[in-house]
Symmetry: C2
Subunit: 243 residues, 2 copies
DNA sequence: ACAAAAGTGTTTGATCTACACCCATGG
DNA sequence: CCATGGGTGTAGATCAAACACTTTTGT
């Protein structure tokens, strides 16, 4: 191995176009793990493959990246094209690069996860493309390493508890019971409602409105909004929201 | 944009080789942010470019990935070849993909960071390759987006405080003052030594030996080891080490 | 009037922070 | 014997967890 040191260094260190020319290029894709919350449950958006091989199998949505776009732009584009949504929250998860991960050839895929509000989304288009929302505990078998991508995304989502995720998964106005259900859905466990409210309100990022949502109880629950300015400011000051 | 939906879906959904064939391939590289701890300070390993363009500028070590290796393997290889080290801790950071990030052509780079013990490393080789260790607050200008990679790596390192990082940066046996200096070096602030020790010891992952290290005081400080089995077990059980 | 969901406080233990002195040793 | 770095404990504040009843209102 010793002998290859110079070899590697010359490759690394020189960036003249002719040197790059000697290198092997590779297909690069993005795959999107799209989570949606419908007010009751966290769901995952999957698409049915329409072509061989693996036709009919469930899969994440993805695409190869083009020469004139970076990864984030590519992910935004494909999300927009597949769901009609733009301005969605998108985060890089990790890169999947095993040599034989894709039976169709050598493809490196960068996984992104995304959080959207299920109601707000005009997801009318979706059925047309054989897409469906799945409960997290009823995810079907997925192609390639997509299962692993989903698992890692869920793990990441749970780790991110200390950021106001709800922001992306909830509508403008929402009730405290709703946000609690969301967190219970993410962590797959129940929280004590008194402690949950106390902690949430103590963060000082919620604004109580005087309206009530009576869609799920006779008494009705107060609607809250996120205090966006405050969240921005806290993010800049590197606050940790411990939820 | 509406019109391209079918286009994208067909690209995504079909993975037959002939379809992949239509896609543009791209150069993919790995760049390694190598941190080392010498017992006093956290340092960053940088390499001097030997060729044009940007000859003489400081840079992270990196290489294009080959067809027969995944990213992790590529990163391990280049680290081994440039530092002589194997079995080092390596973590994917994120992917840098801006279209014009590299003046030599379209290159997507996946950044990895790595933690090593500076003493243990036979870094004798390094000077030969015009490599140098830099204090974190004396990092020179770097090529391309390498500066940004380093910044993100440091941020990540700080976030990872809740994992026993020291494991990778410290020698087999180390003293409590040493590990405190390490953390102070990572977070660039001082900790109260009573509180620091209390917390560290309360994790139950350290084994006190009856030996002392007198290299930095007359009294000498007890040497400790990590309890590797316990750390393994805790990692499996998804423990959080809050440091 | 009752079922169903919303809302509310207190106590207990755990953890975090701030803080100052004695110890062991080599020179 | 003294300078240097290593080692130790406690009190007050803050935070997390456990726990049960009252309120509202549509039917």
């Amino acid at each position: 191995m010793e002998k290859s040191i110079n070899n590697v260094l010359s490759v690394n260190v020189s960036e003249a176009t002719e040197v790059y020319g000697e290198q092997k290029k590779i297909l690069v894709a993005v795959d999107c793990i799209v989570f949606g919350f419908d007010g009751k449950e966290l769901k995952l958006l999957l698409f049915k493959r329409k072509v061989e091989p693996l036709k009919g199998a469930w899969s994440l949505i993805g695409a190869f990246i083009k020469e004139d776009m970076n990864l984030e732009e590519s992910a935004e584009k494909i999300l927009f094209e597949s769901t009609g949504l733009d301005q969605v929250y998108l985060q890089e998860l990790k890169t999947f690069s095993n040599v034989n991960r894709d039976s169709g050839g050598r493809v490196i895929s960068v996984a992104f996860y995304s959080l959207i509000q299920l109601k707000k989304s005009k997801t009318d288009k979706l059925p047309h493309y054989e897409a469906r929302w799945f409960s997290l505990n009823k995810i079907p078998d997925l192609i390639l390493d997509h299962q692993q991508m989903v698992e890692e995304a869920i793990k990441e989502l749970r780790k991110k508890g200390n950021q106001p995720i709800g922001f992306n998964l909830l509508p403008e106005k929402f009730t405290l019971p709703q946000i609690q259900v969301l967190y219970e859905s993410i962590y797959q466990k129940e929280f004590d409602n008194r402690n949950f409210r106390k902690k949430l309100l103590s963060l000082g990022i919620l604004i109580k409105t005087d309206k009530k949502d009576k869609s799920s109880s006779k008494k009705g629950a107060y609607l809250y909004e996120f205090n966006k300015e405050k969240i921005e400011k806290m993010a800049v000051e590197k606050y940790d929201f411990g939820l």
